[in-house]
């Protein structure tokens, strides 16, 4: 490749890098910018007079902590149920021969494509009748609807590469199927299980549509719905809103920089 081409590619990469990175930079910088400065544009693209006031206001003068707790409960519930259901299914689907696996595979992948809005309207009506709106159980079930299909798929694939010979060795030494599953199979499947947990967390944490439609009581708002209500009010305090955006993104940053390989294994499963 010629020198001109190389420097052209480098320039293009820099442009794309700025486009990708600038929104992050501006979000973080705004969150540390003093309120007074935010109401007097034009803004400086760099500044050093940073303050924590926006974060202080967010944590002590809004319902942020409450929304955080709600989001966390929903995510933990979704993780637990997903891990149990997907791990069991992955084990059963790979360790036993029985008819109906093919339709199950298609049914699972098809439901992976279901958009939230298509499920949210009927769930609103069903949950209203069952008094399950504005409950954690209802929200956790709704979040499972978006994450379980992919998770079943992940574990189905993952248990295929966990060798059966390890379990067989345990059986011959007298272990029951359950003991072999617990002591041999599950430890080898740990990376797959971790992927499932991460995906369940991310999809639940990121969800806006279900929580917005099902959780109408302010006390039950999750972070995305609560944050959306910040900008519905007049006189948006963008410094505080960006502080909230930063805090909500922290898990995403941690996942991407520390657990990326588990995330990538899941992406590949999506085709």
């Amino acid at each position: 490749m010629s020198r001109a081409q190389t420097s052209g590619a480098l320039a293009l990469l820099l442009v794309i890098l700025v486009v990708v990175a600038f929104p992050f930079y501006w979000m973080v910088l705004t969150s540390f910018t003093p309120r007074a400065a935010l109401f007097s544009p034009p803004y400086r693209l760099f500044r050093l007079d940073l303050s924590l006031d926006n974060y202080r206001e967010l944590l002590f003068a809004t319902e942020f902590a409450r929304y955080f707790l709600n989001s966390l409960i929903a995510a933990v519930g979704a993780i637990v149920l997903n891990v149990v259901a997907a791990t069991l299914a992955g084990y059963g689907l790979t360790r036993f021969a029985f008819p109906g696996k093919k339709p199950f595979a298609f049914g699972t992948l098809f439901s992976y494509m279901f958009p939230p809005m298509l499920m949210a309207i009927p769930l609103y009506i069903l949950f209203s009748a069952l008094q399950m709106r504005n409950t954690y159980t209802g929200l956790i079930l709704a979040h499972m609807a978006i994450s379980l299909p992919l998770n079943i798929w992940l574990m189905w694939q993952y248990f295929q590469i966990v060798p059966v010979s390890l379990e067989e060795a345990a059986w011959t030494s007298g272990a029951s199927r359950l003991a072999a599953l617990r002591q041999v199979c599950l430890p080898s499947a740990r990376p797959g299980i971790l992927s499932v947990a991460i995906f369940s967390f991310a999809l639940s944490w990121n969800d806006f549509t279900f929580a917005f439609i099902l959780q109408t009581d302010r006390k039950m708002f999750t972070l995305p719905v609560g944050l959306a209500s910040f900008v519905e009010q007049t006189g948006v305090h963008w410094g505080m809103v960006m502080a909230a955006a930063v805090l909500v993104s922290v898990p995403t940053f941690l996942l991407v920089f520390f657990l990326q390989r588990y995330l990538l294994s899941g992406l590949r499963a999506t085709g």
Binding site: Q5, A9, L12, L13, V20, F24, W26, M27, Y43, A85, L88, A89, G92, L93, T94, F98, P99, K101, K102, F104, A105, F106, L109, F110, M113, F114, P115, P116, M117, L118, M119, I121, P122, L123, I125, L126, L141, A142, M144, W153, Q157, W205, N206, F208, T209, I213, L223, L227, V231, W238, V241, M242, A245, S249, T252, V256, L267, R268, T270, G271
Partner: protein, 297 residues
Amino acid sequence: MSATTERRAWILGTTAPALVFLLVIAYLPIAYAVSLSFFKKTAFSPTMKWVGLDNYRLILDEPELWSAFGRSVVFTLGSVGLQLALGLVAALLLNRAFMGRTLVRSLFVLPYLLPSIVVALVFQWLLSQEYGVVNQVLMQTGAVERPVNFFGGLGTAMWAVIGMAGWQYGSFATLLILARLQAINPKLYEAAAVSGAGTLRAFWDVTLPALRTTLIVIALLRGIWMFNKFDSIWLVTHGGPLKATETLPLYAYRLAFEEFDFGLAAAACSVMFVVLLVGALVYFKLFDPTREIEVGR
């Protein structure tokens, strides 16, 4: 317990939870929505009245449905096209070795995994007419004379939403394309170079054919999701201004929760479901997913 009974118990015990959850929380609501579309049901009356195909007659005659359908198509084509273009360029650049590549790649993964609310808030702030830094830079450089009302302008709102979706979901394409690029046998490029092919020629003859399947998969999956996208659009425009960004899912939402006609909303959802079904059938026709897993017979 006999061996067969035990085996049956294991099969049932391991697969039943997943199966029941899938049926109850994913398929049941969809089936309920479809059946609801044959009834007159509003939020204020607990009773349902069978109306047969009336809801469909009403909604298929409704120009609003077709404008929403058209906007969904525009949004899908625009944002998927942008995602593919950005994803391809970014992946080609990231496929080259340079210092700090791992860090840059992580940065490129971030947007896709961010909550939609974060992306929506950041873009509203960046593109704000009054306080947005983008308008500030455009004004300072003299590119525009008056600040642009990106999300609030009739002519700009759809493009702004498409741009935002491209930024957020382009990284999905980047990752998949990058993974495919790294699996291309370098010998193919050597062979191309030996036969005198330049960079562009090698891209055309080696890279693009290798990427064909990946690009189709991305276009199909992202197309299905973008067509039915609710949160990103709702959060920045609520479907406005004057319904300029009211795509099909936002229209269904309005019917259900602002006009309180669940029957009609269900009919709109059924139209979305048909589009999803067609997309899924094409996907399954092109790529048999059961090749990835052992299904026995």
